[in-house]
Amino acid sequence: MGMNKTNIRHGAAAIMGVLSLVAAACAPTTPPPSSGGNPSQVKLSGLIKVDGSSTVFPITEAMAEEFQKANRGVKVTVGISGTGGGFQKFCSGDTDLQNASRAISKTEQEACAKNNIGYIEMPVGYDGIAVVVNPKNTFATCLTVAELKKIWEPEAQAKVTNWKQVRGAFPDVPLKLYGAGSDSGTFDYFTLGINGKEKASRGDYTPSEDDNVLVQGVSGDRNAMGYFGAAYYEENKSKLKAVQIDSKGDGKCLGPEEKMIQDFSYHLSRPVFLYAKATMLGRPEVKEFVKFYLESENATKLIKEVGMVPLTASLYGAVQKRVDAKTLGTAYLEGATAKTPLADLFK
């Protein structure tokens, strides 16, 4: 009995020991002295909470990483809850900054207004959707929007199953489709851009929210076609072939390249945004972080590094001016679409 009791005490002591070790490991570490990335300013500190789109996540992650290296006292957290989920948190005041792969919607504007959340809208880069086929596919080099619609529209379900049906000159081989899952922003934008209506799509294709699964699918099937974020095409160029898109049917074929994505001449390109809670810009660390995010040279370098497309240099200046002037609300008023040139909206 006594023996056993001692054993149990030892066990308990061991557990307490482990716990206290854990506690010690988690104890706040004194931050090392600032490396001086921000010499003219006083030492910044505080917590900046960012959430929202998974498409914009890599950009904000890169910014947060570099900003924290230069300002050791500032903590930046970045979450992924999707553009819609993120706006819910942003408009109820939970987060300071919001990543968005589209402009704020009417309902979201109302939600923000209801909670007295004023916000500043900043385009920060572009996202292109790549339409891809297997590299062994020699015939599909350029497709018109009408042809893509013929493939992807809801009416095509179970009917358009052969490449020959897309264009008479194409060989008589089966058509295998891979695309974004219906919860993703890529799906929304692709269906709007190709089928003319958001979320209108055939359902008999292989969907995945994980673009890597789609890359695998198309690269392993010579009759396949798929679509996903252009960054995934850039990383897998050896395994995939991008299909050029002829947006007006006039024989002008464009691929998902930086220039074409930047000026929207590529059919499936869209701007991505950062939204900032207006009151938060009163806090020096948030103001500096946004400034860092919009500094043209820095932004261009970091955004390219993560495989996305940056704004043109002059636009960054225009957007920073909008921040300095504290211009509240969205620039996407009546009549403006995702295709409206940013230079017209952000002057």
């Binding site: 056993n4 009791k5 054993n7 149990i8 066990g11 716990l19 854990v22 506690a23 490991a25 988690c26 104890a27 706040p28 570490t29 917590l47 909470k49 959430d51 998974s54 996540f57 890599p58 904000t60 992650e61 890169a62 947060a64 990483e65 924290q68 903590k75 930046v76 957290t77 970045v78 979450g79 992924i80 809850s81 948190k89 939970d94 994980d210 673009d211 890597n212 974020g229 960054a231 995934y232 850039e234 990383e235 897998n236 970091l302 590094e305 993560v306 495989g307």
Partner: protein, 289 residues
Amino acid sequence: MSISRQERNLAGRRRGDRIFGFVGLGATVLGLLVLVVLIVDVAKDGLPNLNWEFITSFPSRRPGQAGILSALVGSIYMLSLVALIALPLGVGAAIFLEEYEKRGWLASLIQINIQNLAGVPSVVYGLLGLGLFVRLLGFERSLLSGALTMALLVLPIVIIAAQEAIKAVPPSLREAAYALGATKWQMIWHVVLPSAFPGILTGVILALSRAIGESAPLITIGALTFIAFLPDGPFSPFTVLPIQIFNWVSRPQAGFHDRAAAGILLLLAVLLSMNAIAVYLRNKLQRKW
């Protein structure tokens, strides 16, 4: 004549027995084979990346520099909190159900509920945590919210394990304690709990092993994906291993996929060592009557 028929019959049944043995073996081997293929595949990509630098670095946009420190510390910190919350609650509930309210409608009502709760999908706990801890109690998306949610998730497992351990204590020990003049509480504290301790401990560690691999409830309450600092208290924002791994798997760059594989190996190592501790403690502390 009849003897040879019996023998033939017997031989046939033995053959059937052997065939069934092979089928059983096949089923086991198939399961193991899948596991081996998975582990070998992960180890192939992950092992070259699993080094000290990986464990002690923060996540990064550059796959080559991305480390898992904040997720690892977040997971360990959260599990410690889960243990601190779930152990007293779970053992308390088990003592109540086994020693105080063994029969009666209240006990059976609670019992049924606990068994049902053990089968509730984890994302439902996440929604509960989001509503209760994050919003209503205002703990925000902190380690504490995550730990409380996870504690609720594993509580049924802890209660059931503790109940089984308490049940296994022979009644003669309780009676002996009473015979010596112990009160009910003295009997529980000095006789039942020490005897049931190894079983309870095993249950708790197995419950924590479940918690370490869960990500759905944490994503629901809004645990974060990019954190490049260590938590400085229970109210700090945090991330955990499965969330970090999930993020790396879904990135376009192949380098991140290798980091994810290394993260999976690390998660497996933490999980296996927790189970090993459970087995060790059980063997060391177990008593025989």
